[in-house]
């Protein structure tokens, strides 16, 4: 089976999938792309409606025998399905439910907030400085209107104070939930190590610098972050970084819930 992963710097969803590949031992050719320059929308990356309309935003693309797949949690579920080695989902249906419900919380609450704060801190200046023809080419290649609008908002510096406060609060709330989850002394969020640990860590590792107050009074969550960071799969994924600090590489992510 020909398997190719187009991935960005090991941060956010690209980190989840790179580490999931290492955990499961599934063989794949790795093709780094610069998500922060819109390369996911370039001609070299296979596309279909699922890649173009992925609500994850600028996430990795796994291509298996010509079929392009998007959305890091579901790519990781796929890798777990085809893995002949380690599993990254619990076996018990109740724990699997808990893992999927947890990942939904991360995708819906933590990820949009992290992408908003991350792009504000680390992409906005770079994008504002981009010459107009270059930005127009990047922008014009994006098929999904609302994803394109998120790029344009970053370029124009449209980061309303209320959204900054709301996103910061969501990171704080997310870390509180992790702290509560770990209160019984468990090592991993869903008991055994799983996709939930990878996805949660991948979106939060860049928030330690940007929302330090979230981690100030969260010893269990901080220790858990260190445990995930020490996983050989995560070490290997981070070792693929082309930048000095992949935690500072961001591209537009999922949108903030339209219902408020």
């Amino acid at each position: 089976m020909a398997t190719t992963l187009y991935h960005g710097e090991p941060n956010g969803p690209s980190l989840t999938v790179l580490a999931a590949l290492a955990e499961t031992g599934v063989a794949a050719e790795l093709k780094p792309i610069d998500l922060a320059r819109g390369e996911r929308h370039s001609a070299g990356v296979p596309k279909n409606v699922e890649v173009e309309m992925s609500i994850e935003g600028e996430g990795p693309v796994l291509v298996v025998d010509g079929e392009a797949m998007a959305d890091s949690v579901f790519i990781a579920c796929y890798l777990d399905d085809v893995s002949e080695g380690a599993r990254i989902r619990p076996a018990d249906p109740l724990l699997r439910w808990e893992m999927m419900a947890w990942c939904r919380f991360v995708i819906e609450r933590i990820a949009p907030a992290a992408a908003f704060l991350g792009t504000r801190a680390h992409l906005a200046d770079q994008l504002a400085a981009m010459p107009e023809p270059e930005f127009a080419a990047l922008d014009g290649a994006i098929a999904c209107d609302d994803l394109r609008w998120r790029w344009e908002a970053v370029r124009t510096g449209a980061f309303p104070e209320a959204r900054i406060a709301e996103s910061t609060a969501k990171i704080v709330e997310g870390v509180k939930r992790i702290e509560a989850k770990l209160a019984d002394g468990r090592d991993w969020l869903i008991g055994t190590f799983s996709i939930a640990d990878l996805e949660t860590f991948a979106w939060l590792t860049g928030m330690v610098e940007l929302v330090p107050q979230a981690f100030a009074d969260a010893p269990a969550a901080s220790a858990w972050m260190a445990r995930v960071a020490a996983r050989p799969s995560v070490v290997a994924a981070l070792g693929r970084a082309a930048s000095d600090d992949p935690r500072k590489i961001w591209a537009p992510g999922p949108e903030i819930n339209r219902w408020g």
Binding site: V49, E50, M53, S54, I55, V64, E67, M69, A70, D71, F74, I75, C77, Y78, D81, V82, P93, L94, R96, W97, M100, A101, R104, I107, E108, D145, P254, N257, R258, W259, G260
Partner: protein, 259 residues
Amino acid sequence: MRAGGDVTLYHWEPNANSGKPMLVLAEKGVPFNSHYLDLLSFDQHKPEYLKINPAGTIPAMTHGDRMLTESTAIMEYVEEAFDGPRLMPENPVDRWRVRWWMKFMDQWLAPSFSMLGWSIFIGPSVRERDPAELEAAIERIPMEERRVAWRKAIYNRFSAEELAESQRRCVIGTNMLEAELAKHQWLGSDEYSLADANGFNLAYAIPLGQPELANDEKTPHLMEWLRKIYERPATRQIWTLSRVQRMSSRLSALERKAG
């Protein structure tokens, strides 16, 4: 519906999020106790239900001493925890596609349909009640974001831009479903799956609600798909639990014309 020994589902009408686990339980042949909560009377925020699900969201399912929320995650649980016909395809790429479409519907498309539905139906239905009683009912909602959403719906605070964006997404999403359903026999694969159960609950009302968007000429695959699901015994079975005629009457657009 056969009464279930240890499965109880707390639900509203057999549509939207409530309809998803209802349909899957019926497809799997899992007997369950049906506990109907009247969304329009805010039953889901009353103390007796908050004892079951402190978040006050519906649906919720209890299985023995387990309490589960999040309709799509519940569907996956029902698929994995019970015997019965398989509702996830065998091929791992198909399974990925089923999950992708469920997320797309849950997080991108359904919120747009529901914003329109709430502004047209739920808001006006609830607004007729005593204002003080309404405000007290909203204050009882445990989650702040749900309080915000209910206030928007009840007092019609959706902006023109928000409604226009929701309508834009309904058009795009309906056309995406039509294109996808032309590729496979069912949504995302050639086997009836959780994505179809999910999608029916989202899309069954489009032909009647937005006939210019979904009809036999413009979206033949979507129409045929909805009719095929409507004809399934499990779908018929769960719609016997409907108590709001205005909801069930929307199915009439899916009746096949005689001859």
